[in-house]
Symmetry: C2
Subunit: 96 residues, 2 copies
């Protein structure tokens, strides 16, 4: 979390998250189910990084995601986060 | 379709599409419901382009997507495509 600004804003599939604690609450459970990840592509300039990666998780074998982050003074202040919730929703439904 | 290789391979949320006709069959219906789009970020090098954009569609007001494409001889030969199917699934369920 050392690169996350205290006032980070993250636009994720389920909506906007504001602040480092909300961001941690969002990503923490994901880290728990993450088994591996692989970078597909990563580009950027002085202020912006755009990455795409594939992840393997316990419920979903291939869950690619993309993030576009804005960096200011060495901290991520904004993140736009895209991934497909459908396979996670399906896994949750199948498990319940 | 002039930049799409005949043998394009596209890994999309619902699975792999092979060939320009399959790709057209996938994107054609999307173009029908697309009302506007806005580039969020675009980067690349000689062989790879990574883009993230937001789209507004008839059923889903904000449907961001990301694509990582491989270009060979001026044609897109591979595309990795990430977007959230959940709001489209929800709109389809609500409409049925």
């Amino acid at each position: 979390m050392s690169y996350i600004a205290d006032d980070i804003v993250c636009d994720a599939p389920a909506g906007r998250l504001e602040g480092a604690e909300a961001y941690r609450g969002f990503l923490g459970p994901f880290v728990q189910i993450l088994t591996s990840s692989k970078m597909i592509a990563a580009f950027g300039d002085d202020e912006t990084a755009l990455v795409m990666y594939d992840t393997e998780t316990v419920p979903v074998k291939s869950a690619p995601g993309a993030e576009c982050v804005t960096v200011k003074d060495g901290k991520i202040t904004y993140s736009r986060f895209v991934f497909d919730r459908a396979p996670f929703d399906a896994a949750r439904t199948a498990a319940s």
